[in-house]
Amino acid sequence: MEDKKALGQCLLLDGVVFTFLILSFAVAILQPTEEQLLNLSMVSGVTFGTLIVTMALAYGLIHFKIKTVGYLLFSPPKIDDSAHHVSWFKTFWGVQLTVAFVVACIVGIRVTDFSLYELFDEQGMMGARRIFSSLFTPNFDILPRAVLAIVETIFMAFMATVLAVPVAFVLSFLCAKNIMGDHPVAFALYGTLRTVLNVTRSIEPLIWAIVFSVWVGIGPFAGMLALLLHSVASLAKNFSELAEGISEGPIEAIRATGATPVQVVWFAVVPQIVLPYTAFTIYRWDINVRMATIIGLVGGGGIGTMLIQYQGQAQWNEVGCLVIVIAVVVWLMDTASAYIREAIK
């Protein structure tokens, strides 16, 4: 392969696949103790050593025109000189993929302690039956309080969305490559913002809720802040991708009239994005309502907090009532947001 980058990707993928296979077999045969596995420097040394050897092996295979999975995925498209058809299970990549998948399933079963015996154990089944029978006979006495709590949850989600939109709106322009242009300062700002937002988004709102509940105290405010932060990061990404997909023509035309950069954004960019932005915002509110429920579990307020309290006291009839309230609201929000998004398309 002439393309260095594609070759690198190809070798890395094949190397990882081969390393996984070799190490799985090694563990199965050698049966190392837990202490040996916890020795990080030894484990990483062996892993990287194997990776380098297997990447060399993959290079050899490709050199002899044997098509590995990596080659198949990353090689630049070209006319196949071996024009005859070969069944996939007779090819190298077919066998490689099958073996890797089977081994991954076996390892998965071992690692997750998968056990049908546990699942159908007499005593365990009894416990499950007790919980389900309580859940299906919900105690509706707590319904008024549950409704109040879910209203709190809905407004947590609403405030998080409303406050996130203007911030994300501004950030989305700063994170759109086509709007920022290729000026070095603009590019530096673009790169920094993108990184910060990616990191923020990759941390779950659940974690942010824990941070904020220490910061501002347990309650809906902490939950709202957690959702707000996550919404800003997600919306800014969604918005900036939309802004990157707009057509350049109107921008050029408005620039040609002698308009200022702010006018260009307002007259050429904003009209193109206002509806898709609205659709994403409604969708985000919908997601936030669902997330707000979960966030309540770690002290973010709303119906989640109520749920964790009753669950802690094993009051399953009350939990049943809360589950119904959550399900109804989530279903309603989901349907409503789908209808609205369809309508403004």
Binding site: A256, T257, G258, A259, F267, Q272
Partner: protein, 256 residues
């Protein structure tokens, strides 16, 4: 008047990716003339127009507008130059969700002031001007229809009205009829000619079709591979020149 409104000297443009679109093009534009630029796709016609109003920054040479050097200008200076040079495009580039009137009015943005224009406040004079020019291109009755409801030819006429609302001295037209059918094509060209004749506006227009060139141009220049290969009267372009400009074996297509 036949004085020079725009003087282009040894204009060069090399893009960041190394493509040399213009290799030292020189010509003059006289006030009030209808100048047509012809050449194959990729010969540098579009780049040339965009270098004239600073949408692209030239990398060499000089552009003089009314005796003033505008080769490399930035910020408010660049915007003031652009406001005096209107431009229309192959794909019209209107704002699809805005009304025809609002599109035409956006030609006055450079005068309106940023804050006022964001609030949607325009002065009466500009509003009247936008309507007048919509009337001039025969589309006033559609002023309050959304721009994306119009046909291609109608959209291009709105684009002309938008450019006129700027009150420009020069109108640049980048392949104004290339995405229109032959009949509509002539309507749009006729309006450009009308603007040129009645308002005395200098028009610089990129075109593909030689038959249109002969019909509308006062003068023609031809680009090939970023260089100027012909300058003169449109009627003097004979078969030999045609092959020179468009390459061996090219056949002329007539549209009527």
């Amino acid at each position: 008047m036949s004085d020079t409104i725009l003087k282009v000297e040894k204009l060069e443009k090399t893009y960041d990716n190394g493509v040399q679109a213009l290799k030292g093009v020189s010509f003059d534009v006289k006030r009030g003339e209808f100048l047509v630029i012809i050449g194959l796709s990729g010969s540098g016609k579009s780049t040339l127009l965009r270098c004239l109003n600073n949408l692209h920054q030239p990398t060499g040479g000089r552009v003089t507008f009314n005796g003033e050097d505008i080769t490399v200008v930035k910020g408010s200076k660049a915007r003031s130059i652009r406001s005096k040079i209107g431009m229309i495009f192959q794909h019209f580039n209107l704002i699809p969700r805005y009304s025809v009137f609002k599109n035409a009015l956006s030609g006055s943005l450079s005068r309106a002031g940023t804050l006022k224009s964001l609030m949607g406040i325009y002065n009466e004079e500009d509003k009247k001007r936008a309507l007048d020019y919509l009337d001039l291109v025969g589309i006033k009755e559609k002023a309050y229809i959304r721009a994306d409801q119009l046909s291609g030819g109608q959209q291009q006429r709105v684009a002309i009205a938008r450019a006129l609302t700027q009150n420009p001295e020069i109108l640049l037209a980048d392949e104004p009829v290339a995405s229109l059918d032959p009949a509509t094509c002539h309507t749009v060209m006729d309006y450009l000619k009308k603007v040129n004749r009645e308002l005395g506006l200098t028009v610089i227009c990129n075109l593909h079709f030689l038959s249109l060139v002969r019909q509308y141009a006062d003068r023609v220049i031809a680009l090939k591979g970023g260089e100027l290969v012909y300058e003169g009267d449109p009627s003097h372009i004979d078969e030999k020149w045609f092959e020179e400009i468009y390459g061996e074996g090219a056949k002329e297509v007539h549209i009527n």
